[in-house]
Symmetry: C2
Subunit: 437 residues, 2 copies
């Protein structure tokens, strides 16, 4: 039977043990920080030349012109034609569903006018240019191309630039096909901190972007943290997590597969099950034992469950919800008969999968909501990636002469209270409604 | 005449000089980083005891119990009664206007159901607890208490905890009064990196928060950057900026005062004026010369204008808008007759002040929109502080049996394409619509 932590909310050290399991610090060590700092500075200063050197060194790709590393739209289109039809249809369907969900998130302008004619409002504008990082090699996920690029295009971003490393020139047709389906505008076969630097600062060939999104290894994550401020970034994601809350009446094999679907991501992934039914927890453990034999990634699953997984017995469903709110999971599966009765009590979760028939996996690929979600308890204060991450707001203020005079009085009182006389004067000049500017 | 940079868009090196003026790196040096790292670790480990020690050392306040440093609501109420009536009324009016604007930003839940009964949606929840940092001493601005606390309360945050250092026990009644008006729930007289650490990790006396907002010195800014991830933070702000775009027909004294209202903040603040009318730029320079004599903070204004200010002549208003979009200013004043014709062309600005009668100062205090705005060109990808910064979203997915079967097919194709067999199995289990969970 795969080793997995067993917790019980009646144990006195329950919360302590739970917090130990949840503890995660994605700290990049000094060596990584130093390496990334140098790469960023080098690319910022030397542009293309530096990117070409690092690509030759890390991806074993020798080029003399960065333009050679741009993958043209024709190549993306060919990839889409090359892959099996069922995969092409699945990609197109996933993109269409992600797009229609995203349409609901679009923000729009608003304003209102007050009695004296003063207008206040908010203007919404898409970002000019967005960079999308896509990992190369085995961790290359076409689904994350769709999840990152589609909301940006729905937001109205004119130019989405994807970077994806192609070590030894190996390209992933499924990833290129996804880029075509998602409407990515340009693709460069570069990766690592050098790709992040190229997007953040721009080079002779790669135009600078305003925001960089997408997953990556520790070098990429560290580089994103460092360029934050020069450009926007999405959240720096920790390992993926699922918390299944079950009343004990779902087929244990279904729940075992749901837990494995997290655990198989990597050794650090976290899969947890909470239930008031102890016998059910045993049943799921047995089902996991059986299912494990069919899993090509059994080794990863074993390590993940042993190190970070847990079967948690609670007193009742009410306590299960409390535990869920404390964990603030990235993925929360409510495998119960009447999930809608539990949802109002859920305060923190990236995505909530309601009911026995709703597997997290459908959310990962094609349900519609984004699979880029807050991890490591950050659902307490952050949201899934969405269209709103690719739009920004500007406040609008238009004072009528009467409004300027009226508000000017209040402003000058507060400005003088703060000792800011220029602020006061600037407001006072507009105080006479008949003042001729 | 105060020294100020003079640029002309017809100069060949115009963009180079402009970018030199805009360049700003808020880098915290190694000494600061090391000091803050130690303080964070110490407070995280020793809690109250560490906070008390640092408060004694940096604020010269000797206490033996952190509870002594909590400022009770009764004290806030007394401050509100103590200050002059016109200030009290101004604070209350400002808070009321910020509140009514913020109400327009509230996000709410939504969902839709598909033909096969599958429901997709988004649930909105306020943060549980927010920390608000307020600088002590001279930089203590009651207006920023209102601007940070009011949106959090409008969002429905149950507990807003304010920290404000009181060096030598000196408290600012205007700040405490603002806290009372804004509905701050608890106030602690602590500051610096130790206060940020207390809010991020929690101590025996200070409860841990989910997000920390508010301005602060380099130690506070560095601490906020470091605790990001454990808690959310607002943007780390750079120096304040204004860009005035004027057709040359506004009273030069008004524009001079508007530029000064930025420049008086601090030596690093940036005040720029763009106009196609060279004679008008001279007129504003002359008006600044005159007005400067009335300014208590003339020294700061002189340095700010000489180092970072600029009078920029452009070919026409169209080019003025291009320059504005390149600068992506925190505050953009459109001092023209018909600002509504320019606004559609503005892509990047924190707040847009429309028309000759709309002084930035009214926006700083009482117009309604928030005065916490993206600085240093970050308006290219970020927004003013708002209610949406204190709410977060959770995706909702509820598959009907038919929907689970249908979506499961697509999910399993993509999962197997990514080599994630557990994902595929988890989806496949739900593929038979008659499957009994």
């Amino acid at each position: 039977m795969p080793k997995i932590n067993r917790l019980d909310s009646t144990q006195t050290d329950f919360m302590v043990r739970l917090d130990e399991l949840l503890a995660w610090e994605g700290v990049s060590d000094e060596a990584v920080t130093r390496a990334v700092t140098d790469i960023l500075a080098d690319v910022r200063q030397r542009g293309d030349a530096a990117v070409l050197e690092y690509t030759a060194r890390f991806d074993r790709l020798e080029c003399h012109d960065l333009h050679e590393l741009e993958i043209p739209q024709t190549r993306l289109a060919r990839a889409l034609e090359t892959i099996p039809q069922e995969q092409r249809e699945a990609l197109e369907r996933a993109a269409a569903r992600v797009r229609s969900y995203a349409e609901h998130q679009k923000m729009s302008d608003w304003c209102y006018t007050e009695a004296d004619g003063t207008m206040l409002g908010q203007k919404v504008t898409p970002l000019d240019r967005v960079g999308l990082y896509v990992p190369g090699g085995k961790a290359a996920y076409p689904s994350s191309v769709i999840m990152n690029a589609v909301p940006a295009k729905v937001a109205g971003v004119p130019e989405v630039i994807m970077v994806v490393p192609t070590p030894d020139g190996v390209v992933n047709d499924l990833v290129l096909a996804a880029a075509s389906v998602a409407g990515v505008d340009r693709v460069f076969a570069i990766g690592g901190a050098q790709a992040v630097a190229a997007l953040a600062y721009g080079t002779q060939t790669v135009p600078p972007v305003d925001k960089i999104v997408g997953p990556g290894n520790i070098y990429v994550a560290t580089a994103k943290r460092m360029v934050f401020g020069t450009v926007g970034i999405d959240m720096v994601a920790g390992p993926s997590e699922i918390l299944v809350v079950c009343d004990g009446k779902t087929d244990p094999r279904w729940i075992a597969a749901d837990l494995f679907s997290q655990a198989e991501h990597d050794e650090d992934a976290q899969a947890m099950l909470v239930s008031p039914d102890g016998a059910f927890l045993d049943g799921v453990a047995a089902a996991m034992d059986e299912l494990l034999t069919e899993m090509p990634r059994a080794g990863i699953i074993r390590t993940s469950l042993a190190d970070r997984g847990a079967l948690i017995q609670v007193r009742d469903m009410e306590e299960a919800v409390q535990v869920a709110n404390h964990i603030a999971p990235e993925h929360l599966e409510l495998s119960v008969a009447d999930p809608e009765t539990l949802v109002p009590g859920i305060r923190h979760a990236g995505a909530i999968f309601m009911g026995r028939h709703t597997a997290e996996a459908v959310g990962d690929y094609c349900a519609g909501p984004n699979h880029v979600l807050p991890t490591s308890r950050t659902a307490r204060f952050s949201s899934p990636l969405g269209v709103y991450d690719f739009q920004k707001r500007s406040s609008l203020i238009q004072c009528s002469p009467a409004g300027a005079a009226d508000l000017g009085r209040t402003a000058s009182v507060l400005a003088r209270g703060e000792g800011l006389v220029a602020h006061a004067r600037s407001a006072e000049y507009r105080q006479d409604p008949d003042a001729q500017p």
